[in-house]
Amino acid sequence: MTNNHDRSIAFVRTEDVPAAPPPPNAAGPTKWLKDNLFATIPNSILTIVALLVIYLILQGTLPWLLNGVWVSPSLSVCRDILDGATGACFAVLTERWNQLLFGFQYPADLYWRPGLAFILLFFAAAPVLFFDLPRKLLIFTALYPFIAFYLIWGGSILTPIVALVGVVAGAAVYQRYVKGSFALGFFAGIVAALIVWNLGGLIIPDEEITEGAMRSVASRDLGGFMLNMMLGVTCVSLSVPLGIALALGRQSSMPLIKYICVIFIEFIRGVPLITLLFVASVMLSYFFPPEATVDLFLRVVIMITMFSAAYIAEVIRGGLAALPKGQYEAGDSLGLDYAQSMRLIILPQALKISIPGIVNVAVGLFKDTTLVSVISMFDLVGMIRGPILASTDWQGIYWELFGFAALLFFVVCYGISQYSQWLERRLATDHR
């Protein structure tokens, strides 16, 4: 110890230690392999087993994929071409792509119409999904449902125009009276829209347009992946606002509203979707007057929307419950009314918390649209199970068709989930 005192502890560095390249075991691929794959003996064993499994899977599927036949009129011809070798018959996709995408009854010369509606969907969805874009683009989003309706169903252009005028009139009346009270504005708006729609119904010609580029296409002629996309997009965009309303209604201090919402949510959650779809296809007509015909597509949209709205309501209720009471009190103490504090303070935070849950419901809903195939609507799965597999040309081909269906759904659902993760990162402002 005393030695330390003899030596001076003062020290001044006169030249820098030169930087040297790291030894091979401190960086580079060798280190990465050692750290991540062969760190311990059990790790090494797991790595080798995993590699083996991957090899076996690829060995089985790669020849099938790479040796696939893309041009062939039928399964038997395809088998002849393959001549006993392993290989997929992707020819069914190239032969029947139009049926898989649009159903078997949509007029082939009109495929551009749903195609255009699909492309416009991206422009309509962009300002909603990416809120950094200019707010004015939302005008197109508001117009999109009417444009898409006209493109897909065709017919008289007056139909979507009357519908649009009705909505605009309703919104204008709502704006005018909402300052008095929300209920007054809400119901006055609905009445105004109904009046416009009823009056407008008089000017819409009764006979269907059967000629030309914009001729009518009936709902029963819709099919394929287009039908899944239409159901998915419509139902998700309707069920989120309905779910918010139900979640707020369930928290309401007015017992009547509260119990209507509770009963609705609990009833819907207690019933399988497939039952609701059968109700939509078979039983719902009993509830309407005999002369009224409500479109099957519309009935299915109503049922799926109600179903997912009940789930979304519960997800949002969780988000609302997670907010500290102080947020409500702070809004109240600043003099914000109920609608303002919900819209500006509570919902933005509650919805942010609920994003993963809502996306979960949305992805599930989108996949559940394939259930309409059991009530004889020819969506993607309905097309595969029905017209394509039943045809003499392609009887007995499963992997290629269902693999394609899985791929389409995977692309959409993976996109949704990636978007939601981006959104969560983008909205992370609380720095917890």
Partner: protein, 255 residues
């Protein structure tokens, strides 16, 4: 009553509470509260926890509902009429123990939200007012940050600025420094002292007795839901009348 007249800062009434009672279920939290506050008065309310002091000031802006008695704030009678409640709330600012800033909005947006939506102030004007008050609480440079990026003391000062942006005539403080680290308490109290010196009518639930001595016109001691004693600060601290007040003061000033 000679003392009572001395306490007055002006003759104008800000708040009158007459014979107010409140129950939580069957529990009688506030009993026969009578309180008159004149404009410009600074009142500190203290008392042991559970004595009803927070509940009392939360009744003034109807965050809590009272069951009996009459509360008049700035000439408006507090009833179950939502219009009256919203009117009172926009005239009465409130600061909470846990700040309750809106975490999804920036500091500036926190301050401009209520003026824009309740007062219908144009956005630009609201932002100018907000910057003015943020400068007053000495954090204008944080305007574009989010509450989560600020320290507790800064957040509470933002909360004060947020209330001030509504140009309230009365400010309520519900234990504004209880959730803060000791070194941050001073910056918040300094802001409050500055506010008091400008003549704001303030009701403040706090245990900061130094603050009470420095700025209060009147100290109110509550226990078990009742106002036990009220007096000028000097008299209150030097010469407490009731036994319960003496016990309370000996406990909080003793260490």
């Amino acid at each position: 009553m000679a003392e009572a007249t001395q306490m007055k800062v002006s003759d104008e009434l800000a708040i009158t509470i007459e014979n107010m009672n409140k129950w939580y279920g069957t529990f009688h939290v506030l009993r026969d509260i009578d309180l008159t506050v004149y404009r410009g008065e600074r009142i500190v309310i203290c008392g042991p926890s559970g004595s009803g002091k927070s509940t009392l000031i939360r009744c003034i802006n109807a965050l809590e509902e009272h069951q009996q008695g009459k509360i008049v704030v700035d000439g408006t009678v507090l009833s179950s009429d939502l219009k009256n409640i919203d009117k009172i709330r926009s005239e009465v600012g409130m600061c909470f123990q846990h700040f309750n800033l809106f975490p999804h909005l920036t500091i500036l947006e926190n301050c401009t939200l209520a003026p824009i939506w309740v007062r219908k102030t144009p956005k630009k004007e609201a932002e100018e007012t907000a910057m003015h008050f943020l400068e007053k609480v000495k954090i204008p440079d944080q305007a574009n940050k989010y509450p989560g990026q600020l320290s507790g003391g800064q957040q509470q000062r933002v909360a004060i600025a947020r209330s001030l942006c509504m140009k309230p005539r009365i400010m309520l403080f519900d234990e504004p420094t209880s959730a803060l680290d000791p070194e941050m308490i001073k910056e918040v109290l300094d802001t409050m002292i500055e506010l008091a010196e400008e003549g704001m009518t303030m009701l403040c639930v706090t245990h900061e007795m130094g603050f009470a001595r420095q700025v209060a016109n009147r100290v109110i001691f509550m226990d078990q839901g009742q106002i036990v004693e009220q007096n000028e600060p000097e008299e209150f601290f030097l010469n407490p009348q009731s036994e319960r007040t003496q016990l309370f003061l000996s406990q909080i000033l003793g260490h």
